[in-house]
């Protein structure tokens, strides 16, 4: 029996969110993330969750454990009350997945409750309605997708996969017919195309999530390079205080903006420099955190003073981050952009004061997010279940290619291929044996 996890409160922003784990490993996973070894059952415990892989802090939460069979599902259940930010929920659920939990299917908590006899006959009708409602929603979702982009994008890959299955099945079932023997290299080539396409869609998931939950962009740089001015220009109002005094911004400031329908959470930060000022030091600490949390860092340089040692340090620090380098103050007479600098940093030239270059910057922010997308016409995966299914599809197809390389016979190569088709079918709709047989008879002249 697996341990399942799901967000039990509605998606989106709220004060609180409740994540529920159920199954034999639920309590072990909670222990692993909280470090609390003796969790008292049915008692809320305030604790900090961490990601064991890198000890990074996830959130302060209330943890409540329910031991089997005294729980909703009759299994060990853990409820995590965390802060209601999609980003926090996402990272907590991701961490439970890393620790062996799997995403719950629709109605799976209820089904487990049923199978463990946690629900009596009087409740049966209510549950039936509940499950029916979920199924209905699932049907609606499926049909939306069926006519939607994802299905269209997956269609050709599914078709190709089906063609390979048809070739191999025909070779097995109709040995006495004049069916051309499947060529291993052609099949491998077709499977490689499917695997690449599905894999590319799966890889768009991280970008897709950003689009759904908001792209976190931090504006950073040395003091007085014009971060707050740029921030104000992007949020299109005088949100941050702007002065000529370096170190004016002491705390981080966050504003949500909309870039062509994509939510961007923009954070203005304190300028980074060595300082003895206690308040400024705290602000700089927050800046560093904002930078590490950000999906995209805008590193602002002052084009009128040139790239100094402080800038160099920041450039080195953000070298591996997802970043854009911005050369501000293009309106000033001293603004210079040496060719060597263009060559090395490929900066975007703007003037926060006049608004020059802001359109280019907005486009660059969008492009850098979309750049993570798939090759399939910019289509992005936003649903964790789809992501899971695509990863499973790709894994099965690679297993089939491996079996082909090891010269396994058709019936063994077909096992992972049928699995792959089942996984894809969870997104695009099932392919039945009849569908496969129909395609065989349409492809080959069969029959004595």
């Amino acid at each position: 029996m697996t341990t399942i996890v799901a967000l039990s409160t509605p998606r989106g922003r709220g004060a609180l969110a409740v994540i529920r784990l159920s199954g034999p490993d639920a309590i072990a996973i909670a222990r692993h993330m909280s470090g609390v070894t003796d969790v008292e059952p049915r008692r809320a415990t305030l604790t900090t969750l961490r990601r064991p892989k890198d000890e990074s802090e996830l959130d302060h939460v209330l943890l409540t454990c329910f031991n089997a069979p005294h729980s909703l599902t009759g299994e060990d259940v853990v409820e995590i009350s965390c802060h209601g930010s999609p980003a926090i929920v996402r990272s907590i659920i991701d961490t439970t997945l890393e620790l062996g939990a799997v995403l719950a299917g629709p109605g799976e908590f209820t089904l487990r409750a049923l199978s463990n006899g946690k629900i009596n006959l009087a409740q049966a009708e209510a549950i039936r309605d509940l499950i029916a409602a979920q199924t209905e929603a699932a049907v609606k979702q499926a049909s939306r997708q069926l006519h939607g982009e994802l299905s269209n994008a997956l269609g050709p890959f599914k078709e190709k996969l089906l063609e390979v299955i048809v070739l191999l099945e025909s070779a097995l079932e109709f040995v006495e017919e004049e069916i051309p023997a499947p060529r291993a290299n052609e099949i491998d080539h077709a499977l490689a195309v499917v695997s690449d396409g599905v894999g590319s869609l799966a890889r768009s998931y991280s970008a897709g999530r950003l689009l759904q939950e908001g792209v976190r962009v931090a504006v950073t740089g040395r003091p007085n390079v014009g971060k707050s001015s740029l921030f104000n220009s992007l949020v299109e109002r005088e949100r941050a205080i702007v002065t000529d005094i370096p170190g004016t911004t002491r705390d981080t400031l966050t504003e949500a903006i909309d870039l062509e329908g994509i939510p961007v959470i923009l954070t203005d930060t304190a300028g980074l420099r060595e300082t003895t000022d206690d308040i400024e030091t705290l602000g700089i600490e927050r800046t560093r955190r904002a930078m590490s949390d950000a999906d995209l860092v805008l590193l602002v340089l002052d084009g009128s003073t040139g790239v100094g040692p402080g800038d160099r340090e920041l450039l080195d620090q953000t070298e591996n981050a997802h970043r854009l380098v911005i050369m501000n103050k293009s309106d000033l007479p001293g603004f210079k952009l040496p060719a060597s600098c263009v060559e090395e940093l490929r900066p975007i030239t703007v003037s926060a004061r006049t608004g020059d270059g802001l359109a280019t910057l907005r486009a660059a922010i969008l492009a850098s997010v979309n750049g993570n997308g798939s090759d399939e016409g910019g289509l992005l995966i936003t649903n964790a279940r789809h992501y899971d299914l695509l990863c499973n599809t790709q894994r099965e197809i690679e297993a089939a290619r491996e079996a082909l390389r090891e010269r396994h016979t058709e019936e063994l190569v077909l096992v992972p291929l049928h699995n792959a088709l089942k996984f894809l079918g969870q997104i695009t709709g099932e392919t039945t044996t009849e569908d496969i047989l129909s395609k065989i008879f349409a492809t080959f002249c069969i029959g004595k």
């Binding site: 049966a124 499950i131 079932e173 019936e411 063994l412 069969i446």
Partner: protein, 626 residues
């Protein structure tokens, strides 16, 4: 009620379904009447003279393991045996044999006549006897009335059969034999949904008029693989078949005369099987193919008749003669019997439960083409199941139901009763989700116990089964424990053979999974005290080991999918009393009377909501018991 004769079970039709049904029913102790239109044509092969093939051979092995007779009869009358798919994995290999058509019939009749409690009767059943709505017997055309508590209908293409050659049509169950029209009316009157299907057969040629040198011979296997686990060796003298091809000239002639074909003139309404297309269909649908393969199959040792496999047609008889003569090697050939198409009635198999009993009329069982299937093997396995369950029904014993995870028969029955048919249904290995587990060579391991428990597997077969299982266990242990070590004499040679160092020590089981390692090599490495080891035993054990990993993951998946399947539904459960089930669902459950949650789950039309309500009810009931 007065009857001329009284049986426990009456079987209508003595084709491949009817023979198995009657034999099984009689051997389970039920007095069984087998009624057929013509006693000389018991076990007749209406179409090609062959048994088995991919997946079909699996069915015959399963019939044999359960105690059926088809495997034994074909082993005694087969004249060319081939194990198909030898180059592929053991799960998709399957035996096939050409039959001597007349000897098959004679052997089947001999087998039936040697069975106690089995009574052959010639006649035509036209109606059922109902006693206050309960099935009580059958009425024959000649006025005789036979009493029976259970009836198996296995009428094949005879049910309202209509034969087509060109524009000519006539009523018939097979060329030269009358159809059974009244029985179809009876079924309709009882409210059964009746549909129409179609099949066809090619012309038969006079072998003396064929230029055999123009064809490529196709030999049987050096060592025939029999169908029955009880057969030690094949005694019949073995023959060759021949392969030839049609030509563009033949295709053009067919295309030019499509108006003469009832298939294309719109006369035939029934739907034919896609995997058995007529030559007209082949030429039209695959017009880019310049030739189609033909097989010349001799019909037996005592006849010159030759079956022209691949040339099924319903074109006018006189045209068939001309077309045949356009085929290279058949320039002088003479048609003995023309091919024809036949339409016949079938009853929607969704009327049936997993025991093949109709819900509409308890005691009535359907088997074979009446359920929309095609093929002798498909018919025989249904006949066996229906015959067993008819006898069990009269004896008030629990019915036999086979799961799709354990048998092709289970796959076939579940597909039929759950999905119905819209064209003649044929078995394929791809219909079995768990095909790696369903091998022809392990049918005994999967099913023989059921046959024994029923009483269909006799002592000598049971002893043979047990000693084989014991040998396999011993062999399995040897493969796990015997290791090839670096110090062994063969180590270097085997390493060189597979082009890879084997390491210091490797079990024979692991070694067998390496590429290029053959069963012969493993055989040579087995310890002397184990020998002689039968090749078939070693192959079975190696197949288990080859698929074990795949099967374990598959088993886990099955367990997850079907974790509640074993939950029993008490007999006479009042589904209407379960709050939350709609009238339609209650009717479906009442009709199907599922005995477990798994059976309910597979019923058509049961929504996830209804299933969870049922599951809650069953869980609550179980808890009340415990």
């Amino acid at each position: 009620m007065s009857f001329d004769e009284t049986f426990d079970v009456v079987v209508i039709g003595a084709g491949h379904a009817g023979c198995e049904a009657a034999s099984a029913s009689a051997r389970l102790g039920a007095e069984t009447g087998l009624i057929t239109l013509n006693l000389d044509l018991v076990g007749q092969m209406s179409c090609n003279p062959a048994i088995g093939g991919i997946a079909k051979g699996h069915l015959v092995r399963e019939i044999d393991a359960l105690g059926g007779i088809m495997g034994r009869v074909i082993d005694r009358t087969g004249i060319q045996f081939r194990l198909l798919n030898r180059s592929r994995g053991p799960a998709v290999q399957s035996p096939r044999a050409q039959a001597d058509r007349m000897r098959y019939r004679a052997e089947m009749r001999r087998t039936l006549e040697a069975t106690s409690n089995l009574h052959l009767r010639q006649g035509k059943v036209v109606d059922f006897v109902l006693d206050h709505g309960r099935l009580a017997g059958v009425i024959l055309e000649d006025g005789r009335r036979f009493g029976a508590d259970a009836v198996v209908v296995a009428t094949g293409t005879f049910l309202n059969g209509l034969i087509h050659t060109g524009r000519r049509t006539y009523s018939g169950g097979r060329a030269g034999e009358p159809a059974s029209i009244e029985l179809s009316e009876t079924l309709k009157r009882l409210g059964f949904p009746v549909g129409r299907l179609k099949t066809g057969t090619p012309p038969r040629l006079d072998g003396r008029t064929i230029d055999w040198s123009a064809f490529e011979p196709q030999r049987g296997d050096e060592t025939p693989v029999p169908f029955s686990f009880s057969t030690d060796r094949i005694e019949q003298k073995q023959i060759q078949c021949y392969i030839g091809y049609t030509t563009q000239e033949v295709h053009d002639a067919i295309r030019g005369n499509l108006a003469e074909s009832p298939l294309y003139s719109g006369k035939i309404k029934g739907i034919g099987p896609r995997y058995c297309p007529s030559i007209e269909d082949k030429v039209v649908k695959f017009s880019d193919k310049s030739r189609h393969q033909l097989f010349l199959e001799p019909e037996g040792h005592d006849t010159n008749e030759v079956y022209l496999n691949g040339f099924s047609t319903s074109l006018p008889a006189e045209m068939q003669q001309d077309l045949v003569r356009m085929i290279p090697g058949l320039e002088e050939a003479r048609v003995i019997r023309p091919g024809y198409a036949i339409e016949y009635d079938f009853v929607d198999p969704r009327e049936l439960g997993p025991d093949l009993q109709t819900a509409r009329l308890p005691g009535l069982f359907h088997a074979g083409q009446i359920n929309g299937t095609t093929g002798y093997e498909e018919a025989a396995c249904q006949g066996l199941l229906a015959g067993i369950n008819a006898a069990l029904y009269t004896q008030r014993r629990d019915s036999l139901r086979l799961r799709r995870e354990e048998s092709y028969i289970g796959v076939l029955v579940e597909d039929l009763i759950k999905q119905g048919v819209d064209e003649p249904y044929r078995i394929f290995t791809s219909r079995a989700e768990y095909r790696l587990a369903l091998r022809y060579d392990n049918a005994d391991e999967r099913l023989e116990r059921y046959g024994r428990e029923l009483g269909l597997v006799g002592d000598s077969d049971w002893d043979r089964f047990n000693s084989r299982q014991a040998r396999l266990a011993k062999l399995r242990l040897a493969l796990e424990t015997v290791r090839l070590r670096r110090s062994d004499a063969q180590h270097a040679a085997v390493s060189a053979l597979i082009g890879n160092d084997l390491g210091d020590s490797i079990s024979l089981e692991q070694l067998a999974k390496r590429p290029k390692v053959t069963a012969e090599l493993i055989m040579s490495l087995l310890p002397a005290e184990l020998k002689p080891v039968a090749e078939t035993d070693l192959n079975s054990v190696l197949a288990d080991s080859l698929y074990a990993g795949y099967l374990d993951t598959q088993k886990a998946a099955i367990a997850k999918l079907y974790q509640h399947d074993a939950l029993k539904i008490p007999r006479h459960t009042a589904f209407r009393g379960i709050a939350g089930l709609s009238n339609e669902i209650v009717e479906r459950l009442d009709r199907a009377q599922p005995l477990t949650f798994g059976e309910a789950r597979r019923l058509p039309g049961l929504t996830p909501g209804a299933l969870s309500t049922l599951l809650a009810h069953l869980c609550a009931g179980q808890r009340a018991i415990s």
